[in-house]
Symmetry: C2
């Protein structure tokens, strides 16, 4: 029996609303009233004090106390004692490097997969919950020791997934082209493009798409597929690589 319990949010702020407003009902259903205190990881932003203040104020309105890991004397102990974990967005490279620098990657994985500690991630916090940060949109401002991430699910996510704007004159790669480039590499896992407004609820071996926008699934050597909000996409947990890539190896 897999105890995994994850809420993976594409974006913390939806255009025209406040911090985490668009997913606040899902947050309360996810943590339930069993959780009193949430351990917050602000590493993705430079100003950790300000970030913790923003998150703390929002979580208090939802009925949860929030402890920020950057105020703990020992981050590993803080994870060992956490009732619930929330990793916020910002820069994914900075976040992952800091998780490695503080020996937190394997500790968080253990707490979530073995002890069933609920894990919520937003944007960069969603990227680091997957196999790797290979499909982040962020700028590589620092060099982490690896792109391998916490690995709570056997696929990758592209948060803030963006459809191509046909009126654009910009010639940089579209998001779809970027993910296609990732899949040109051998043995690359599926990538779920989570548009702003959508989120993923993972409970044990079940995955459900929540929110207000569709998600687009990219599989190596296969056409991409759209999923409506409410879709059961639990099959994402059963294959780590696309069939076609496996048969090619």
């Amino acid at each position: 029996m897999n105890k995994r319990k994850l809420l993976l949010v594409s974006n913390s702020t939806l255009h025209g609303s406040g911090y985490l407003d668009h997913c606040q009902n899902h947050i309360c259903s996810f943590f339930t009233r069993d959780v009193k205190r949430v351990l917050f990881v602000p590493y993705a932003l430079h100003d950790r004090d300000a970030y913790a203040k923003t998150a703390r104020e929002k979580f208090r309105t939802l009925g949860y106390e929030l402890d920020s890991i950057h105020e703990a004397s020992d981050p590993v102990t803080a994870v060992r004692n956490a009732e619930a974990i929330f990793i916020g967005g910002g820069n994914t490279f900075r976040l992952l490097k800091c998780l490695y620098d503080n020996d937190l990657v394997t500790e968080i994985r253990r707490r979530v997969l073995e002890d069933g500690v609920p894990y919520m991630g937003s944007s960069a916090g969603t990227n680091v919950a997957t196999i790797s940060i290979n499909t982040t949109n962020d700028m590589p401002i620092v060099f982490p020791p690896s792109f391998s991430a916490i690995g709570l699910v056997p696929f990758n996510i592209n948060p803030h997934y963006l459809d191509h704007d046909p009126s654009s004159r910009h010639m940089g790669e579209t998001r779809e082209q970027r993910i296609t480039q990732f899949h040109e590499e051998a043995e690359t896992p599926r990538v779920l493009g989570l548009r702003e407004g959508s989120l993923l609820l993972v409970e044990g071996n079940n995955v459900k798409l929540l929110g207000t926008t569709k998600a687009r699934l990219f599989t190596r050597n296969q056409p991409s597929v759209e999923y409506e909000p409410g879709s059961d996409i639990s099959f994402l947990l059963t294959h780590t690589h696309s069939d076609s890539s496996l048969t090619q190896q």
Copy 2:
């Protein structure tokens, strides 16, 4: 006397025109008639044969033969014998990893800085000519051994620099926010935001902005500054870090 001779292009294709059309006059002035053959590096794209074909056809119309390094029996020898080098765009992570995998980073640096071999880069090929790839826009689809790049100039470039669209509802970071996040890190160098349509000509210790669009210079702890096409920005070669970051250390 510094022999450095660089043409660093923001983008290989401008909206509405063909491959390298928008900068073809600059390419001919840069390589001059002294150069007969250009060594092309197609590593940033997956399909190297197709990429070399596209580049070869374009360079022939300009009067240059093109040898692609992926067809050479020994890439290091190809660089040692090159009259001129052109590194094309695509994915910057893939490109830099491949340059390291083939032991080309120091060899290209030596040929350009010591032997005065002309170096042209476009997009990812411009990123790898700078200090590091920390300010690429690309997706980190593979893990290079380092983000340090060839280091032909003591600053970084952000190609395809994009102004914020105030009508956008997308909540991912703007380009300016991404570069600001880079400058939140200690001792980070200047970043020149090269908009599509602009290019940089470096000759010895002189740097000139060419093309049709302004460039925006970001310096740590200082306001950003715009430069018009035709500007002399040779001062970029004289300081490796912002003054303010140096006094902070």
